[in-house]
Symmetry: C2
Amino acid sequence: MGAAATRALDAGGEPGDGADVAVYTDIAEQDLESFLAGFDVGRPITFKGIAEGVENSNFLLETEAGRFILTVYERRVRRDELPFFLDLLSWLAAHGFPSATPIPDRQGRTLGVLNDKPAALVTFLPGLSVRRPDTARCREAGEGLAWLHQAAQGFSGRRANDLGQPAWGRMFAPLARAADALKPGLAPVIRADLDELEAVWPRGLPEGIAHADYFPDNVFFLGGKFAGAIDFYFAAWDALAYDVGVALNAWCFEPDGGFNVTKAGAFLSGYRRRRELDEAELAALPVLARGAAMRFFLTRLADWGATPPGSLVRPKDPLEYERKLAIHREGLALIGLGA
Amino acid sequence: MGAAATRALDAGGEPGDGADVAVYTDIAEQDLESFLAGFDVGRPITFKGIAEGVENSNFLLETEAGRFILTVYERRVRRDELPFFLDLLSWLAAHGFPSATPIPDRQGRTLGVLNDKPAALVTFLPGLSVRRPDTARCREAGEGLAWLHQAAQGFSGRRANDLGQPAWGRMFAPLARAADALKPGLAPVIRADLDELEAVWPRGLPEGIAHADYFPDNVFFLGGKFAGAIDFYFAAWDALAYDVGVALNAWCFEPDGGFNVTKAGAFLSGYRRRRELDEAELAALPVLARGAAMRFFLTRLADWGATPPGSLVRPKDPLEYERKLAIHREGLALIGLGA
């Protein structure tokens, strides 16, 4: 039944910048039919593996009832956390945020099984992601993130951010040698960063559901306007301004490594159209963005070391985030922003 | 702009049985917009890399005007042959055969350039391919192939089959060592096959445009009925019954390696609903199918040897076709079929 995309799995979760790799798995027509028999969506008309999402296999499915994305969850997503993610998506859609909505089966369940793996059917979300967002799209993306934060308010599901600041020291411990192998002398620098981040990490900021992987590939636009977000599989309870920090790193660095403060300003002003950032949040942004750079550096470093030579998975370069981290360390990015 | 699937390139061209691999390349939004500006299709609404086709990158593109497949041709397709393929698709669609139709740009050209590569926009063809076709679908697929052969009649384009029988000896010459490495003693067996195929290869059979890669992944069904064919990038002028031989190998072997004569009978009876096979064609089928097995064995063997260790491309197993070839060599497949 065609081949289906299983994107290269990387613990970091951010989708592809530059060349990426996918491993294909097949879904037999009988298995698809059995799965769909549980839903009230009619017969399939189109079924194609698509290159979207990094933690799972995604298929574009058109049936007599409309268009959907069928997601088959791969090993990186913990099965017991799936209800949180699916409930969050249902909540967001019910509260007006443009995200894919899980389709319940005839028994009201949004989580099913396909090929012995957890699987879910969600609505198709139109829109296009942008590889190199311009300033206008950074503004739109910022507003979209605030919208997401607002729409998630009241959602009762909870998931701790297992890739948040308290975890970084533990994550780095087995990676010190890999850091030095990547760049001689890097391990003590990272250790000092971790100590400093631990010491100055802001507490008491407004918390809520953070997307935690709000990269350009996970945001859709239509005619230059924000049209929705996808790939919520890192969503967790955290400081909302930390989510802004993750996004500033993902949206506002230029390919040459420089931080584009105009785009950052646009992102923040877009965000503040929907949700105000208080003084403590604005003051915390430099350290939050530095921490966010640490988080993606660490997961990329872990993937780098864990990928055997000759593997079919090509890990993302940890040095990209090492450079972002260095810029934040020097205080060369978020200076006087939004104050 | 999202990531886009470039399927693993393999000279054989047949799409994935079993796990497959794709390499992703990106298309920047500006590049897509420049490309689309040449067409009268409105603005993009959805753009997703899809896992379809092995010789090129395919994207599902929805615009204000409808749904399309955008194909970016990769290195394996010769640029000077693209007009033949696109003209063939236009001809087939104009003559009622369900295939993707190239969309001309404002200047009437169907072949454009995107990311410095040849690219074309074609209509979206609904339908689902089937990984393990049942007997009923083999019948439908057979009828579809005859339909294709009939619809192509009168098309004036010509392309010699550079992977046809006259080429096999030349293709094998540099691969003899690889054959012996794959299976000790195989090279002399293949050489004897090639001599025998050369000696008994049927001449004077009805010729026309052959798809030449009519595998289940390239055929769509809707509600169990034939709904169209894709991936014409091996199409060439050849004996039409040779195309049937390729298809019998692709559709009628079971996963355990056995040839399912019931499915073969169904394929042929479906074919003959649309186009009669004359006595000479029926008599030639065993040797044509044997030759077709040789053709896919040879291209798989070439890919096997050409793939460096640790490559991101996982070549298909040449032994699958070596086994099919052995079954044809022993005359254990097409016995008294359709006679």
